[in-house]
Symmetry: C2
Subunit: 214 residues, 2 copies
DNA sequence: CGTGCAGTTGAGCAAATTCAACGCTTGTGG
DNA sequence: CCACAAGCGTTGAATTTGCTCAACTGCACG
C-alpha cells in the first residue's frame, strides 16, 4: 500500500465514557513493568485505569513484542477477553488500577439495562479504537508518530505539552516501527519545529497540528 | 519495525458464534458493489450475512479507500456503531443479509441475559478480529497475503481451495498493499507451488501451510 | 566510578511503492 | 456477430521508505 503521507489526521473522538452507576471494585497499585495479567489466564476482572498507563501486548513467534494499546486513566482494560485473556497486560509506569469483577458485572447487567448499554458502548469504543489503530498502521512512519502524539494530546486537552508515559521501544512496538525510526522522526519533527522536546519524555506539541497538515 | 518475515501464522480460532435464540429480522438481497449503509447514518440495524460477502470501509482524505474487514456468512456487521455508523458497508459480491433491529435487540437483552452474553461475546470476537488484523498489518507483504488466504480457508474447512469473493483491489485495500504487490505475491506463491490459481478468483491452498512455515 | 539502559545518529540494504505499459476478459452497442 | 471500451490483472524499471547493523552519548543506579 501507499504510506499515506498526504493524509490528514482524522479526529476520532474516542471519548471516555462517563457512567452513572457504581461498578465497585478495589484499587490496586502496580509498579513500572509489573505484570497485571497474562495471555491465557482466566479473565476474572475488568481493569479501570485510575492513574498511570497500561500496555496490552503479545509476543510474536519471532520473539518480537507487539503492543496492542496503551490505556490511560478512565480507560477499561480487558474487554477483548471472553473466558480467558487473549493478550497480556503490564504497567508502563507506576499505576493505580481498579479491579472490577466480571461475574458481578454480568449479574448487574441482568438487572440494569443501563449497564448493558454501558458495556456495549465501551466495547464499541474499544473496537473503534482498534480500527483507528489499524488505520494508523497503514500510514507512513511520520504520520504514525504524529497521529500517536495527537491521540495522546486528545487526552490532556488544555495542555500544550504531553507526557510520554512509555519508552521509545514501547512506542515503536505500538506503531510497528523500529526504535531508530521513531527516534529519527522525533528528531525530524524537532528540526521542523513541529515539536520540541522539553525532556525526552515530555513534548511540546504547540505547532504539531499545523505540521501534520502540511 | 521489521516486516516480521519469519513469523509463523498464529491460528486465531475466530470461531463464529452459534446462538440459541431467535433474533428475528428480515432478509434483504444486495447486488455486487451495492451500498448497505454509509458512514454517519443512524445505526438502526445489525446485519447478519446469510450468503455472499460484505466489506466495511472508509475513505481517507487522500481519496484512498481502506477496507476494515470482509464479512462472510454468519458474521455480524455493524457492532462498531453506537448511535451512528462510523464506517460504510457494501456487498463485494451478490449477497443476502439479515437486518436485525438494534432497538428490539436491546429490549430483548433487557429480558434475557443470554442475549447480553451473546452480544458481549460477538463484540469481543469482533475486537479479537481487529487485533488480529492489526497484527497482520505489521508483517511483510507475503505473510499478509498468506495469513489472509489461510483466514479464508478457515471458513471453508474441508475444502482444499477457496473462492475469493472480492477483487485484487479489495484485497490490497484490506491488507494495506498496492494491487501490484498483491499480484506479484500471488505470482511468487504460484512459482513456489504454494498455491495454484484455478481461476484468478479460485485458489488451491493445498501446499500453503507448509510454505508459510518455511 | 563503572555497568546497563534509553536514546540518538550514520551507512548500506532490502522491501514495497510509483509510474508505466501491456494482456485478458467481459459486456455493450452497432 | 464483431468491434471496441472498460475493468481487472500482470509485469517491468526506477525510486522511496524504513530496516538492520553498528557505533556512540547521556543518564541513573548500584
Amino acid at each position: 500500500m501507499s504510506p499515506v503521507a498526504t493524509c490528514r489526521h482524522q479526529s476520532p473522538t474516542l471519548t471516555s465514557y462517563r457512567r452513572s452507576f457504581d461498578l465497585g471494585g478495589i484499587i490496586t497499585s502496580f509498579s513500572r513493568n509489573e505484570k497485571i495479567f497474562s495471555k491465557g489466564e482466566q479473565a476474572k476482572y475488568l481493569y479501570e485505569v485510575e492513574s498511570g498507563c497500561i500496555r496490552t501486548f503479545d509476543t510474536l513467534n519471532n520473539g518480537r513484542r507487539w503492543i496492542s494499546r496503551f490505556y490511560l486513566p478512565n480507560d477499561i482494560v480487558g474487554l477483548d477477553a471472553r473466558e480467558n485473556h487473549v493478550i497480556s497486560a503490564e504497567a508502563t509506569s507506576p499505576s493505580k488500577v481498579r479491579l472490577i469483577e466480571r461475574a458481578a458485572l454480568m449479574s448487574q447487567a441482568a438487572r440494569n439495562v443501563d449497564v448493558v448499554k454501558y458495556l456495549m458502548d465501551i466495547t464499541a469504543i474499544e473496537l473503534q479504537h482498534a480500527q483507528n489503530h489499524k488505520l494508523i498502521l497503514l500510514k507512513g512512519a511520520q504520520e504514525r508518530i504524529v497521529d500517536f502524539l495527537l491521540e495522546l494530546k486528545n487526552r490532556e486537552q488544555n495542555e500544550t505539552a504531553v507526557d510520554l508515559p512509555m519508552t521509545r521501544v514501547d512506542i515503536a512496538d505500538y506503531l510497528g516501527l523500529s526504535i531508530e525510526t521513531v527516534s529519527r522522526i522525533f528528531t525530524r519533527l524537532k528540526g521542523t519545529s513541529a515539536i520540541s522536546l522539553l525532556t525526552s519524555r515530555r513534548i511540546d506539541l504547540r505547532n504539531l497540528p499545523r505540521a501534520s497538515i502540511a
